[in-house]
Amino acid sequence: MAEKVIQEEKRVFMTGNEVVAWGALAANAEIMYGYPITPQNEIMHYWTRLAPKNEREFLQTEDELSAGFTTNGGVMAGRRAFTATAGPGNTLMQEPISMAEAMRLPTVTIVQQRGGPSTATVIYSQQEVTLTTLGGNGEGLRVVYSTATHQELFDYTIKAFNTAWKYRFPTFVLADGYQAKMRESLVMYDPASKGIEMFPTEPFVGKEGTPGVDREPGHFRNTYNVEEELYDVLQEHFADYNKMTPEVAEYKEIGSKESKVVVIAHGVVARGAKAAVEDLRAEGFNVGFFRPVTLRPLAVPELREVANNADKILVVESANGQMDRLLKEAIYGCSAEMLSLFKPGVGITAEEIEARVREIV
Protein backbone atom coordinates (compact mmCIF):
# COMPACT_ATOMS: atom_id res chain seq x y z
CA MET A 1 0.00 0.00 0.00
CA ALA A 2 1.21 3.45 -0.85
CA GLU A 3 2.13 5.88 1.89
CA LYS A 4 -0.49 7.98 3.62
CA VAL A 5 -2.82 9.67 1.17
CA ILE A 6 -3.61 12.63 3.40
CA GLN A 7 -0.50 13.74 5.28
CA GLU A 8 -2.16 16.30 7.50
CA GLU A 9 -5.61 17.65 8.20
CA LYS A 10 -6.82 20.08 5.61
CA ARG A 11 -9.93 22.08 4.98
CA VAL A 12 -11.20 21.53 1.45
CA PHE A 13 -14.15 22.73 -0.62
CA MET A 14 -15.53 20.21 -3.10
CA THR A 15 -18.52 18.20 -4.31
CA GLY A 16 -19.85 15.25 -2.32
CA ASN A 17 -18.90 12.78 -5.00
CA GLU A 18 -15.30 13.95 -4.78
CA VAL A 19 -15.50 13.66 -0.98
CA VAL A 20 -16.55 9.99 -1.27
CA ALA A 21 -13.62 9.19 -3.55
CA TRP A 22 -11.21 10.84 -1.08
CA GLY A 23 -12.90 9.10 1.86
CA ALA A 24 -12.49 5.69 0.21
CA LEU A 25 -8.88 6.51 -0.55
CA ALA A 26 -8.21 7.61 3.04
CA ALA A 27 -9.87 4.37 4.25
CA ASN A 28 -7.34 2.42 2.19
CA ALA A 29 -10.00 1.02 -0.11
CA GLU A 30 -8.16 -1.01 -2.71
CA ILE A 31 -10.59 -1.31 -5.57
CA MET A 32 -13.84 0.17 -6.83
CA TYR A 33 -16.17 -1.68 -9.17
CA GLY A 34 -18.80 0.41 -10.86
CA TYR A 35 -21.14 1.26 -13.66
CA PRO A 36 -22.03 4.86 -14.51
CA ILE A 37 -25.28 6.42 -13.37
CA THR A 38 -26.16 9.98 -12.44
CA PRO A 39 -25.78 11.45 -9.84
CA GLN A 40 -22.92 9.23 -8.61
CA ASN A 41 -20.77 9.31 -11.78
CA GLU A 42 -18.12 11.63 -10.37
CA ILE A 43 -17.31 9.16 -7.58
CA MET A 44 -16.02 6.93 -10.36
CA HIS A 45 -14.44 9.82 -12.22
CA TYR A 46 -12.50 11.04 -9.19
CA TRP A 47 -11.59 7.51 -8.10
CA THR A 48 -10.20 6.69 -11.54
CA ARG A 49 -8.14 9.87 -11.37
CA LEU A 50 -6.86 9.20 -7.85
CA ALA A 51 -6.46 5.41 -8.07
CA PRO A 52 -3.44 5.08 -10.40
CA LYS A 53 -1.47 7.64 -8.38
CA ASN A 54 -2.15 5.72 -5.19
CA GLU A 55 -1.77 2.12 -6.36
CA ARG A 56 -5.49 1.45 -6.26
CA GLU A 57 -7.65 -0.17 -8.89
CA PHE A 58 -10.89 0.32 -10.76
CA LEU A 59 -13.01 -1.99 -12.84
CA GLN A 60 -15.87 -0.72 -14.93
CA THR A 61 -18.38 -3.50 -15.41
CA GLU A 62 -21.18 -3.96 -17.94
CA ASP A 63 -23.98 -3.14 -15.51
CA GLU A 64 -24.82 -2.86 -11.80
CA LEU A 65 -25.51 -6.58 -11.40
CA SER A 66 -21.95 -7.17 -12.41
CA ALA A 67 -20.60 -4.26 -10.38
CA GLY A 68 -22.25 -5.75 -7.29
CA PHE A 69 -21.06 -9.29 -7.93
CA THR A 70 -17.50 -8.19 -8.68
CA THR A 71 -17.56 -6.23 -5.41
CA ASN A 72 -18.60 -9.48 -3.71
CA GLY A 73 -15.71 -11.23 -5.42
CA GLY A 74 -13.31 -8.47 -4.43
CA VAL A 75 -14.09 -8.79 -0.73
CA MET A 76 -13.92 -12.60 -0.94
CA ALA A 77 -10.41 -12.14 -2.25
CA GLY A 78 -9.70 -10.08 0.86
CA ARG A 79 -9.78 -6.67 -0.77
CA ARG A 80 -11.31 -3.58 0.78
CA ALA A 81 -13.69 -3.13 -2.16
CA PHE A 82 -16.60 -0.84 -2.84
CA THR A 83 -19.11 0.26 -5.43
CA ALA A 84 -21.45 3.20 -5.92
CA THR A 85 -24.80 3.52 -7.58
CA ALA A 86 -28.18 5.26 -7.68
CA GLY A 87 -31.79 4.84 -8.73
CA PRO A 88 -32.38 2.03 -11.22
CA GLY A 89 -28.78 0.95 -10.63
CA ASN A 90 -29.58 0.44 -6.97
CA THR A 91 -32.50 -1.78 -8.01
CA LEU A 92 -30.15 -4.04 -9.96
CA MET A 93 -27.58 -3.90 -7.19
CA GLN A 94 -29.99 -5.58 -4.75
CA GLU A 95 -29.42 -9.00 -6.28
CA PRO A 96 -25.67 -9.13 -5.53
CA ILE A 97 -26.28 -7.39 -2.20
CA SER A 98 -28.69 -10.19 -1.24
CA MET A 99 -25.90 -12.63 -1.93
CA ALA A 100 -23.60 -10.54 0.23
CA GLU A 101 -26.19 -10.74 3.02
CA ALA A 102 -26.45 -14.50 2.64
CA MET A 103 -22.70 -15.00 2.63
CA ARG A 104 -21.94 -12.23 5.14
CA LEU A 105 -19.71 -10.34 2.72
CA PRO A 106 -18.35 -6.97 3.89
CA THR A 107 -19.16 -4.96 0.78
CA VAL A 108 -19.44 -1.18 0.91
CA THR A 109 -21.94 0.54 -1.38
CA ILE A 110 -22.43 4.27 -1.76
CA VAL A 111 -25.91 5.29 -2.92
CA GLN A 112 -26.66 8.79 -4.24
CA GLN A 113 -30.45 8.79 -4.30
CA ARG A 114 -32.29 10.19 -7.33
CA GLY A 115 -35.99 10.49 -8.10
CA GLY A 116 -38.01 7.33 -8.63
CA PRO A 117 -39.58 5.04 -9.61
CA SER A 118 -37.58 4.04 -12.69
CA THR A 119 -35.55 6.72 -14.51
CA ALA A 120 -37.68 9.53 -12.99
CA THR A 121 -35.18 12.32 -12.27
CA VAL A 122 -31.41 12.29 -12.11
CA ILE A 123 -31.57 15.01 -9.51
CA TYR A 124 -32.50 14.13 -5.96
CA SER A 125 -34.77 12.21 -3.60
CA GLN A 126 -34.93 10.15 -0.43
CA GLN A 127 -36.91 7.49 -2.24
CA GLU A 128 -34.27 4.76 -2.05
CA VAL A 129 -34.65 4.22 1.68
CA THR A 130 -36.85 1.15 1.42
CA LEU A 131 -34.65 -0.34 -1.30
CA THR A 132 -31.39 0.39 0.50
CA THR A 133 -32.55 -0.80 3.93
CA LEU A 134 -34.71 -3.77 2.97
CA GLY A 135 -34.26 -4.28 -0.77
CA GLY A 136 -33.05 -7.88 -0.81
CA ASN A 137 -35.07 -11.09 -0.86
CA GLY A 138 -34.48 -11.52 2.84
CA GLU A 139 -34.63 -9.68 6.13
CA GLY A 140 -32.33 -6.73 5.53
CA LEU A 141 -29.11 -8.00 7.11
CA ARG A 142 -27.19 -4.83 6.37
CA VAL A 143 -26.10 -1.49 7.82
CA VAL A 144 -27.20 1.81 6.28
CA TYR A 145 -25.67 5.16 7.26
CA SER A 146 -27.59 8.22 6.10
CA THR A 147 -25.27 11.24 5.82
CA ALA A 148 -26.22 14.92 5.94
CA THR A 149 -23.02 16.88 5.34
CA HIS A 150 -19.81 16.59 3.37
CA GLN A 151 -17.93 16.06 6.61
CA GLU A 152 -20.15 13.07 7.31
CA LEU A 153 -19.74 11.75 3.79
CA PHE A 154 -16.01 11.62 4.47
CA ASP A 155 -16.34 10.28 8.04
CA TYR A 156 -18.92 7.60 7.22
CA THR A 157 -17.28 6.42 4.03
CA ILE A 158 -14.30 5.54 6.22
CA LYS A 159 -16.52 4.11 8.94
CA ALA A 160 -18.53 1.98 6.49
CA PHE A 161 -15.46 -0.11 5.66
CA ASN A 162 -14.79 -0.77 9.32
CA THR A 163 -18.39 -1.64 10.14
CA ALA A 164 -18.57 -3.98 7.14
CA TRP A 165 -15.34 -5.82 7.92
CA LYS A 166 -15.84 -5.95 11.67
CA TYR A 167 -19.39 -7.29 11.64
CA ARG A 168 -19.44 -8.86 8.18
CA PHE A 169 -22.66 -7.31 7.01
CA PRO A 170 -22.90 -5.39 3.72
CA THR A 171 -22.77 -1.69 4.57
CA PHE A 172 -24.17 1.33 2.78
CA VAL A 173 -23.54 5.04 2.80
CA LEU A 174 -26.87 6.52 1.73
CA ALA A 175 -26.67 10.08 0.43
CA ASP A 176 -28.50 11.82 -2.41
CA GLY A 177 -28.13 13.89 -5.56
CA TYR A 178 -27.89 17.14 -3.61
CA GLN A 179 -25.03 15.86 -1.49
CA ALA A 180 -23.43 14.39 -4.62
CA LYS A 181 -23.39 17.65 -6.55
CA MET A 182 -23.20 20.44 -4.01
CA ARG A 183 -19.98 22.00 -2.82
CA GLU A 184 -19.23 22.83 0.79
CA SER A 185 -16.29 22.71 3.15
CA LEU A 186 -15.03 19.79 5.19
CA VAL A 187 -11.84 18.73 6.90
CA MET A 188 -10.07 15.72 5.40
CA TYR A 189 -7.73 13.70 7.55
CA ASP A 190 -5.79 10.49 7.75
CA PRO A 191 -7.94 8.08 9.85
CA ALA A 192 -4.93 7.06 11.97
CA SER A 193 -4.41 10.69 13.04
CA LYS A 194 -7.86 10.52 14.70
CA GLY A 195 -7.12 7.19 16.33
CA ILE A 196 -9.24 5.36 13.75
CA GLU A 197 -7.68 2.04 12.96
CA MET A 198 -8.80 0.39 9.75
CA PHE A 199 -10.22 -3.03 10.59
CA PRO A 200 -7.94 -5.58 8.93
CA THR A 201 -9.19 -7.40 5.85
CA GLU A 202 -8.57 -11.05 5.06
CA PRO A 203 -9.39 -13.32 2.16
CA PHE A 204 -12.39 -15.62 2.50
CA VAL A 205 -10.99 -18.10 0.02
CA GLY A 206 -7.56 -19.41 -0.96
CA LYS A 207 -6.26 -19.56 2.60
CA GLU A 208 -3.26 -21.61 3.69
CA GLY A 209 -3.64 -25.27 4.62
CA THR A 210 -6.07 -28.06 3.84
CA PRO A 211 -9.69 -27.28 4.71
CA GLY A 212 -11.03 -29.68 7.34
CA VAL A 213 -7.50 -30.78 8.26
CA ASP A 214 -5.40 -27.70 9.01
CA ARG A 215 -8.30 -25.27 9.43
CA GLU A 216 -12.06 -25.02 9.46
CA PRO A 217 -13.43 -25.23 5.96
CA GLY A 218 -14.93 -22.01 4.65
CA HIS A 219 -18.59 -22.46 3.80
CA PHE A 220 -19.80 -19.37 2.04
CA ARG A 221 -23.24 -20.38 0.94
CA ASN A 222 -26.21 -18.74 -0.61
CA THR A 223 -27.96 -22.03 -1.38
CA TYR A 224 -29.60 -24.57 0.93
CA ASN A 225 -31.40 -27.80 0.15
CA VAL A 226 -33.27 -28.12 3.41
CA GLU A 227 -35.65 -25.60 4.94
CA GLU A 228 -34.47 -26.21 8.49
CA GLU A 229 -30.84 -25.75 7.55
CA LEU A 230 -31.57 -22.28 6.16
CA TYR A 231 -33.63 -21.51 9.26
CA ASP A 232 -30.76 -22.43 11.58
CA VAL A 233 -28.21 -20.37 9.64
CA LEU A 234 -30.53 -17.34 9.63
CA GLN A 235 -31.00 -17.59 13.39
CA GLU A 236 -27.25 -17.19 13.76
CA HIS A 237 -27.27 -14.20 11.40
CA PHE A 238 -30.14 -12.56 13.31
CA ALA A 239 -28.35 -13.15 16.61
CA ASP A 240 -25.18 -11.54 15.24
CA TYR A 241 -27.20 -8.63 13.86
CA ASN A 242 -29.00 -8.05 17.15
CA LYS A 243 -25.74 -8.23 19.08
CA MET A 244 -24.22 -5.68 16.72
CA THR A 245 -27.17 -3.28 16.79
CA PRO A 246 -26.44 -1.35 20.02
CA GLU A 247 -22.84 -0.93 18.87
CA VAL A 248 -23.63 0.52 15.44
CA ALA A 249 -27.01 2.28 15.80
CA GLU A 250 -26.42 6.04 15.73
CA TYR A 251 -28.58 9.13 16.02
CA LYS A 252 -28.33 12.86 16.66
CA GLU A 253 -30.83 14.93 18.56
CA ILE A 254 -31.70 18.25 20.11
CA GLY A 255 -33.98 18.18 23.15
CA SER A 256 -35.89 15.23 21.70
CA LYS A 257 -36.57 13.54 25.03
CA GLU A 258 -38.18 16.50 26.73
CA SER A 259 -40.10 18.19 23.89
CA LYS A 260 -43.80 17.90 23.16
CA VAL A 261 -43.29 18.10 19.41
CA VAL A 262 -40.32 16.31 17.83
CA VAL A 263 -39.27 16.63 14.20
CA ILE A 264 -37.67 13.48 12.78
CA ALA A 265 -35.71 13.67 9.53
CA HIS A 266 -32.68 11.94 8.05
CA GLY A 267 -29.95 12.79 5.57
CA VAL A 268 -29.83 16.15 3.85
CA VAL A 269 -33.42 16.94 4.96
CA ALA A 270 -32.22 16.79 8.56
CA ARG A 271 -30.16 19.93 7.89
CA GLY A 272 -33.28 21.97 7.20
CA ALA A 273 -35.14 20.25 10.05
CA LYS A 274 -32.36 21.07 12.51
CA ALA A 275 -32.24 24.70 11.37
CA ALA A 276 -36.04 24.98 11.70
CA VAL A 277 -36.03 23.44 15.20
CA GLU A 278 -33.18 25.67 16.36
CA ASP A 279 -35.07 28.74 15.15
CA LEU A 280 -38.27 27.68 16.85
CA ARG A 281 -36.50 26.81 20.10
CA ALA A 282 -34.88 30.24 20.07
CA GLU A 283 -38.42 31.65 19.92
CA GLY A 284 -39.34 29.55 22.95
CA PHE A 285 -41.24 26.72 21.27
CA ASN A 286 -41.16 23.31 22.95
CA VAL A 287 -39.82 21.51 19.87
CA GLY A 288 -37.13 18.86 19.57
CA PHE A 289 -35.18 17.24 16.77
CA PHE A 290 -34.21 13.62 16.20
CA ARG A 291 -32.17 12.33 13.32
CA PRO A 292 -31.48 8.64 12.79
CA VAL A 293 -27.96 8.36 11.34
CA THR A 294 -28.32 4.61 10.88
CA LEU A 295 -31.57 3.86 9.07
CA ARG A 296 -30.80 0.19 9.50
CA PRO A 297 -30.53 -0.73 12.26
CA LEU A 298 -32.44 2.13 13.87
CA ALA A 299 -31.69 3.32 17.41
CA VAL A 300 -34.94 1.75 18.60
CA PRO A 301 -34.75 2.27 22.41
CA GLU A 302 -34.00 5.99 21.97
CA LEU A 303 -36.75 6.39 19.38
CA ARG A 304 -39.26 4.71 21.67
CA GLU A 305 -38.29 7.01 24.51
CA VAL A 306 -38.91 10.02 22.26
CA ALA A 307 -42.21 8.60 20.99
CA ASN A 308 -43.49 7.88 24.49
CA ASN A 309 -42.65 11.34 25.78
CA ALA A 310 -43.70 13.58 22.90
CA ASP A 311 -47.32 14.36 22.05
CA LYS A 312 -46.61 14.70 18.37
CA ILE A 313 -43.91 13.51 16.02
CA LEU A 314 -43.49 15.22 12.66
CA VAL A 315 -41.74 13.00 10.11
CA VAL A 316 -40.16 14.99 7.29
CA GLU A 317 -38.70 13.31 4.22
CA SER A 318 -38.26 13.67 0.45
CA ALA A 319 -40.20 10.44 -0.03
CA ASN A 320 -43.79 9.41 0.52
CA GLY A 321 -43.19 7.88 3.93
CA GLN A 322 -40.30 5.45 3.42
CA MET A 323 -38.50 6.37 6.65
CA ASP A 324 -41.92 6.84 8.26
CA ARG A 325 -42.65 3.13 7.78
CA LEU A 326 -39.38 2.16 9.44
CA LEU A 327 -40.11 4.50 12.34
CA LYS A 328 -43.65 3.21 12.82
CA GLU A 329 -42.37 -0.32 13.08
CA ALA A 330 -39.76 0.79 15.63
CA ILE A 331 -42.15 2.76 17.83
CA TYR A 332 -45.20 0.52 17.52
CA GLY A 333 -47.42 0.96 20.56
CA CYS A 334 -45.88 4.28 21.66
CA SER A 335 -48.18 7.15 22.50
CA ALA A 336 -47.13 10.03 20.21
CA GLU A 337 -49.33 11.05 17.31
CA MET A 338 -47.52 10.67 13.96
CA LEU A 339 -47.75 13.58 11.53
CA SER A 340 -45.92 14.06 8.27
CA LEU A 341 -44.41 16.40 5.72
CA PHE A 342 -43.64 14.24 2.70
CA LYS A 343 -42.32 15.66 -0.57
CA PRO A 344 -41.28 12.68 -2.68
CA GLY A 345 -38.41 13.50 -5.02
CA VAL A 346 -38.33 17.18 -4.01
CA GLY A 347 -36.02 19.10 -1.67
CA ILE A 348 -37.43 20.44 1.59
CA THR A 349 -36.40 23.83 2.93
CA ALA A 350 -36.07 24.91 6.56
CA GLU A 351 -38.82 27.49 5.95
CA GLU A 352 -41.34 24.80 4.96
CA ILE A 353 -40.53 22.68 7.99
CA GLU A 354 -40.80 25.67 10.29
CA ALA A 355 -44.19 26.58 8.83
CA ARG A 356 -45.46 23.01 9.26
CA VAL A 357 -44.32 22.88 12.89
CA ARG A 358 -46.09 26.17 13.61
CA GLU A 359 -49.32 24.57 12.35
CA ILE A 360 -49.12 21.66 14.78
CA VAL A 361 -47.60 23.04 18.00
Partner: protein, 189 residues
Protein backbone atom coordinates in the same frame (compact mmCIF):
# COMPACT_ATOMS: atom_id res chain seq x y z
CA UNK B 1 -23.48 36.00 13.61
CA UNK B 2 -26.10 36.84 11.01
CA UNK B 3 -28.07 34.44 8.90
CA UNK B 4 -26.53 33.15 5.70
CA UNK B 5 -26.96 35.18 2.55
CA UNK B 6 -29.17 33.29 0.11
CA UNK B 7 -28.42 33.97 -3.53
CA UNK B 8 -30.15 32.54 -6.62
CA UNK B 9 -28.53 33.08 -10.00
CA UNK B 10 -30.32 32.07 -13.18
CA UNK B 11 -29.58 32.32 -16.86
CA UNK B 12 -29.51 30.39 -20.09
CA UNK B 13 -27.17 27.41 -20.19
CA UNK B 14 -23.80 28.78 -21.26
CA UNK B 15 -24.21 32.24 -19.72
CA UNK B 16 -21.93 31.14 -16.93
CA UNK B 17 -24.10 31.48 -13.82
CA UNK B 18 -22.70 28.23 -12.39
CA UNK B 19 -19.13 29.51 -12.69
CA UNK B 20 -20.12 32.73 -10.94
CA UNK B 21 -21.66 30.82 -8.04
CA UNK B 22 -18.74 28.43 -7.78
CA UNK B 23 -16.11 31.17 -7.76
CA UNK B 24 -18.01 33.20 -5.17
CA UNK B 25 -18.41 30.09 -3.01
CA UNK B 26 -14.72 29.31 -3.25
CA UNK B 27 -13.78 32.90 -2.47
CA UNK B 28 -15.96 32.79 0.65
CA UNK B 29 -14.47 29.46 1.69
CA UNK B 30 -10.94 30.83 1.23
CA UNK B 31 -11.93 33.61 3.55
CA UNK B 32 -12.80 31.00 6.18
CA UNK B 33 -16.55 31.51 5.87
CA UNK B 34 -19.13 28.79 5.35
CA UNK B 35 -20.42 28.46 1.81
CA UNK B 36 -22.70 26.03 0.07
CA UNK B 37 -23.24 26.03 -3.67
CA UNK B 38 -25.55 23.67 -5.50
CA UNK B 39 -26.35 23.74 -9.21
CA UNK B 40 -29.67 22.62 -10.56
CA UNK B 41 -29.14 19.86 -13.05
CA UNK B 42 -31.37 17.69 -15.17
CA UNK B 43 -31.09 15.16 -17.96
CA UNK B 44 -30.45 17.79 -20.65
CA UNK B 45 -26.86 18.15 -21.81
CA UNK B 46 -27.29 21.80 -22.80
CA UNK B 47 -29.94 24.47 -23.12
CA UNK B 48 -32.68 25.25 -20.65
CA UNK B 49 -32.57 27.62 -17.72
CA UNK B 50 -29.63 27.06 -15.42
CA UNK B 51 -30.09 28.00 -11.76
CA UNK B 52 -27.33 28.19 -9.15
CA UNK B 53 -28.18 28.29 -5.44
CA UNK B 54 -25.52 29.85 -3.25
CA UNK B 55 -25.46 30.44 0.49
CA UNK B 56 -22.69 32.20 2.36
CA UNK B 57 -22.60 32.66 6.12
CA UNK B 58 -20.57 32.30 9.29
CA UNK B 59 -21.97 29.05 10.63
CA UNK B 60 -22.65 25.71 8.93
CA UNK B 61 -25.32 26.11 6.25
CA UNK B 62 -28.66 24.30 6.65
CA UNK B 63 -30.71 22.97 3.74
CA UNK B 64 -28.96 23.32 0.35
CA UNK B 65 -31.93 24.98 -1.32
CA UNK B 66 -34.21 27.71 0.00
CA UNK B 67 -37.63 29.18 -0.56
CA UNK B 68 -36.83 32.87 -0.55
CA UNK B 69 -33.57 34.43 -1.66
CA UNK B 70 -31.98 37.61 -0.38
CA UNK B 71 -30.87 38.34 -3.90
CA UNK B 72 -32.02 36.93 -7.22
CA UNK B 73 -30.11 37.58 -10.42
CA UNK B 74 -31.93 36.69 -13.63
CA UNK B 75 -30.18 36.95 -16.96
CA UNK B 76 -32.77 35.91 -19.51
CA UNK B 77 -36.47 36.15 -20.21
CA UNK B 78 -37.05 32.57 -19.08
CA UNK B 79 -34.79 33.00 -16.08
CA UNK B 80 -36.90 35.93 -14.88
CA UNK B 81 -40.03 33.79 -14.96
CA UNK B 82 -38.29 30.80 -13.41
CA UNK B 83 -36.91 32.73 -10.44
CA UNK B 84 -39.96 34.79 -9.50
CA UNK B 85 -40.85 32.13 -6.97
CA UNK B 86 -37.69 32.84 -4.96
CA UNK B 87 -38.77 36.45 -4.41
CA UNK B 88 -40.18 37.69 -1.10
CA UNK B 89 -40.60 41.04 0.61
CA UNK B 90 -36.90 41.14 1.56
CA UNK B 91 -35.55 40.10 -1.83
CA UNK B 92 -33.46 42.27 -4.12
CA UNK B 93 -34.21 41.24 -7.72
CA UNK B 94 -31.60 42.09 -10.34
CA UNK B 95 -32.07 41.45 -14.05
CA UNK B 96 -30.26 42.41 -17.21
CA UNK B 97 -31.89 45.47 -18.68
CA UNK B 98 -30.90 44.34 -22.18
CA UNK B 99 -33.34 41.41 -22.18
CA UNK B 100 -35.86 42.14 -24.91
CA UNK B 101 -39.59 42.27 -24.42
CA UNK B 102 -39.58 42.52 -20.63
CA UNK B 103 -42.34 44.70 -19.21
CA UNK B 104 -43.20 45.54 -15.63
CA UNK B 105 -45.72 42.69 -15.70
CA UNK B 106 -42.91 40.19 -16.15
CA UNK B 107 -41.00 41.46 -13.14
CA UNK B 108 -41.86 40.46 -9.59
CA UNK B 109 -44.09 42.98 -7.79
CA UNK B 110 -43.41 41.68 -4.27
CA UNK B 111 -39.69 42.33 -4.04
CA UNK B 112 -37.96 44.81 -1.75
CA UNK B 113 -36.22 46.25 -4.78
CA UNK B 114 -36.14 45.45 -8.48
CA UNK B 115 -33.58 46.90 -10.81
CA UNK B 116 -32.01 46.26 -14.18
CA UNK B 117 -28.34 46.62 -15.01
CA UNK B 118 -26.96 46.82 -18.57
CA UNK B 119 -24.41 44.03 -18.06
CA UNK B 120 -24.86 42.47 -21.51
CA UNK B 121 -24.41 45.84 -23.18
CA UNK B 122 -21.35 46.74 -21.14
CA UNK B 123 -19.82 43.35 -21.86
CA UNK B 124 -20.39 43.72 -25.59
CA UNK B 125 -19.45 47.38 -26.00
CA UNK B 126 -16.77 48.00 -23.38
CA UNK B 127 -15.15 44.68 -22.59
CA UNK B 128 -15.83 41.34 -24.23
CA UNK B 129 -18.99 39.20 -24.36
CA UNK B 130 -17.06 36.42 -22.64
CA UNK B 131 -16.73 38.35 -19.40
CA UNK B 132 -20.47 38.95 -19.15
CA UNK B 133 -20.72 36.57 -16.22
CA UNK B 134 -17.75 38.20 -14.48
CA UNK B 135 -19.62 41.52 -14.61
CA UNK B 136 -22.51 39.71 -12.96
CA UNK B 137 -20.12 38.43 -10.31
CA UNK B 138 -19.02 41.98 -9.59
CA UNK B 139 -22.65 43.01 -9.36
CA UNK B 140 -23.42 40.27 -6.82
CA UNK B 141 -20.37 41.17 -4.75
CA UNK B 142 -21.47 44.80 -4.63
CA UNK B 143 -25.11 44.02 -3.94
CA UNK B 144 -24.41 41.61 -1.08
CA UNK B 145 -21.04 42.30 0.55
CA UNK B 146 -20.73 38.53 1.03
CA UNK B 147 -17.11 38.49 -0.05
CA UNK B 148 -14.64 41.29 -0.55
CA UNK B 149 -13.76 42.13 -4.14
CA UNK B 150 -10.14 41.24 -3.44
CA UNK B 151 -11.04 37.68 -2.41
CA UNK B 152 -13.07 37.26 -5.57
CA UNK B 153 -10.13 38.40 -7.65
CA UNK B 154 -7.93 35.87 -5.85
CA UNK B 155 -10.46 33.12 -6.57
CA UNK B 156 -10.54 34.10 -10.25
CA UNK B 157 -6.76 34.12 -10.32
CA UNK B 158 -6.75 30.62 -8.84
CA UNK B 159 -9.17 29.35 -11.45
CA UNK B 160 -7.92 31.16 -14.54
CA UNK B 161 -4.34 31.96 -13.55
CA UNK B 162 -2.94 29.55 -16.13
CA UNK B 163 -4.76 31.47 -18.88
CA UNK B 164 -3.65 34.81 -17.47
CA UNK B 165 -0.03 33.65 -17.64
CA UNK B 166 -0.36 33.25 -21.40
CA UNK B 167 -2.29 36.45 -21.86
CA UNK B 168 -2.05 39.02 -19.04
CA UNK B 169 -4.64 41.18 -20.79
CA UNK B 170 -7.26 38.60 -19.84
CA UNK B 171 -6.54 39.22 -16.18
CA UNK B 172 -6.95 42.94 -16.66
CA UNK B 173 -10.22 42.40 -18.52
CA UNK B 174 -11.63 40.05 -15.88
CA UNK B 175 -10.72 42.36 -13.03
CA UNK B 176 -12.14 45.31 -14.93
CA UNK B 177 -15.35 43.32 -15.42
CA UNK B 178 -15.64 42.80 -11.65
CA UNK B 179 -15.23 46.50 -11.05
CA UNK B 180 -17.72 47.46 -13.76
CA UNK B 181 -20.29 45.04 -12.37
CA UNK B 182 -19.91 46.61 -8.94
CA UNK B 183 -20.25 50.10 -10.47
CA UNK B 184 -23.43 49.18 -12.31
CA UNK B 185 -25.03 48.11 -9.05
CA UNK B 186 -23.76 51.21 -7.23
CA UNK B 187 -25.36 53.39 -9.90
CA UNK B 188 -28.63 51.47 -9.83
CA UNK B 189 -28.87 51.61 -6.05
Amino acid sequence: MGRAWKIALAGEGGQGVQSVAQILAEAANEQGREALYIPNFGVEQRGGVSVAYLQIGDVAIGAPKFQTADIVVALSDRAIHRTRKYVGPETVFVYDSGIEGITDDDLPDNAKKVFGIPALEVAKNELHPRVFNVIIMGAVVKATDVVPEEKVKEAIEKKLGYKFEQNPKLREMNFKAIERGAQLVAEAL
